[in-house]
């Protein structure tokens, strides 16, 4: 592995390089809002195998070439939703994207769009989580306390199917990053929170439908979705927020009860 920045490569331990492995150029967006005025890209040569993920490559850079690269990650198996970023222009999870599937020797990683940048690839999720919380993402009902008589609230498979895919959301924020409305409307609730609103509204155990519909029925709420569908395209868990939003609209338009 050879760094394009020679200063750093001299200071850090070199990785063991197999001469038979391929290498790619990893371009990492570098930006610190406290000190920088423009985004710059640093390039690194990284050895890759067919199973190397983008996160592996970034962590390799952090370990051997530039420890200052700021990236958020945790589970490395597309469960925690921490490593969302733009990879070659498309929002994706770095741990879930293999270098080999990108069909390019140059991989550019940037922070997700539509979020304030904390540093490099790490973005601020404060507003994202506060909007999610605002939509009451939990079952609302008076008898929700488990007693001896009501240990479980049974549902038929059909009732579960109504909301099941939406419960797979891992809050990675990729859908909000891909949303064209979020790019201009900073007050827009966003596909993630709207899909979660649908997840609970369509759950027959829940009685908080009217509360949630009141929140989404706002001038920056559900009606600002233009059904571009990019949120559904980028979801790593196969959730279809665009469909959830349309189904949620059905309640407000009187098509669904």
């Amino acid at each position: 592995m050879a760094a394009i920045n020679p200063q750093l490569s001299n200071e850090l331990p070199s990785p063991i390089v197999d001469p038979h492995t391929d290498s790619i150029t990893l371009r990492i967006s570098k930006f610190n809002p406290k000190t920088d005025s423009v985004v710059t890209f640093q390039e690194f040569k990284v050895p890759v195998h067919k199973w190397t993920t983008v996160l592996d490559a970034i962590l390799s850079v952090k370990q051997h070439l530039d420890p200052s690269v700021a990236v958020r990650y945790s589970c490395r198996q597309a469960s925690c939703g921490s490593c969302g970023m733009k990879i070659n222009g498309k929002p994706a999870l770095a741990c879930y994207t293999k270098i080999s599937e990108l069909n390019s020797n140059i991989i550019t990683v940037e922070p997700m769009n539509n979020y304030p940048i904390l540093r490099d690839l790490a973005v601020d999720f404060t507003q994202f989580f506060s909007t999610h919380k605002k939509l009451k993402p939990y079952i609302i009902r008076d008898d929700s306390e488990v007693t001896d008589d009501s240990k479980e609230f049974l549902q038929t498979p059909k009732e579960v199917e109504e909301y099941l895919q939406f419960s797979y959301c891992i809050k990675c924020g990729l859908c909000n990053s891909a949303c064209p409305t979020m790019a201009t409307d900073s007050s827009f609730i966003g596909p993630q929170a709207l899909a979660q609103a649908y997840r609970y509204v369509s759950d027959n155990r829940d009685t908080g439908k009217n509360e949630r519909l009141k929140i989404v029925d706002d001038s920056h709420g559900i009606w600002r979705c233009h059904f571009a569908g990019s949120c559904s395209q980028v979801c790593p868990k196969g959730v279809d927020p665009a469909m959830g939003i349309q189904l949620l609209r059905g309640y407000l338009l009187g098509f669904r009860k």
């Binding site: 409307d185 029925d217 706002d218 001038s219 009606w223 600002r224 407000l252 338009l253």
Partner: protein, 113 residues
């Protein structure tokens, strides 16, 4: 007014305008294009009460739909309490002015003034 009510009006005005404009175009096709735009022909349309009512309805539907669409675009473009209030009331005022001016034209032509 709730956003869902506004959007129901938005969709309703769109559907209504499509139907009425289609009728308007079909009426125009009963004559050839240049004949349709002749002074006597245009004034005759305004003086035929059902047609004048239809033109008035088209005016209202398109004004409401168009300016609400503009309001939505402007709200997505920029945010802020003052700005949003200006956009909302500005669009209501624009609808009222356009409908008043258009109605004046229809009434004056209808009564031969």
């Amino acid at each position: 007014m709730k956003e869902s009510v506004i959007m129901k009006i938005h969709y309703g005005t769109a559907l209504g305008a499509v139907v009425l404009v289609a009728i308007h175009i079909l009426f125009r096709m009963t004559q050839n294009f240049s004949e349709s735009l002749q002074y006597e022909s245009v004034i005759a349309n305004y003086q035929f009460l059902p047609y004048a009512i239809m033109l008035e309805l088209i005016l209202i539907l398109l004004s409401v739909h168009g300016f609400n669409g503009l309001r939505v675009i402007l709200l997505e473009l920029k945010q802020g309490v003052g700005y949003e209030k200006t956009v909302n009331y500005g669009c209501i005022a624009a609808i009222a002015i356009l409908v008043a001016y258009g109605s004046r034209t229809i009434l004056m032509a209808g009564f031969g003034m």
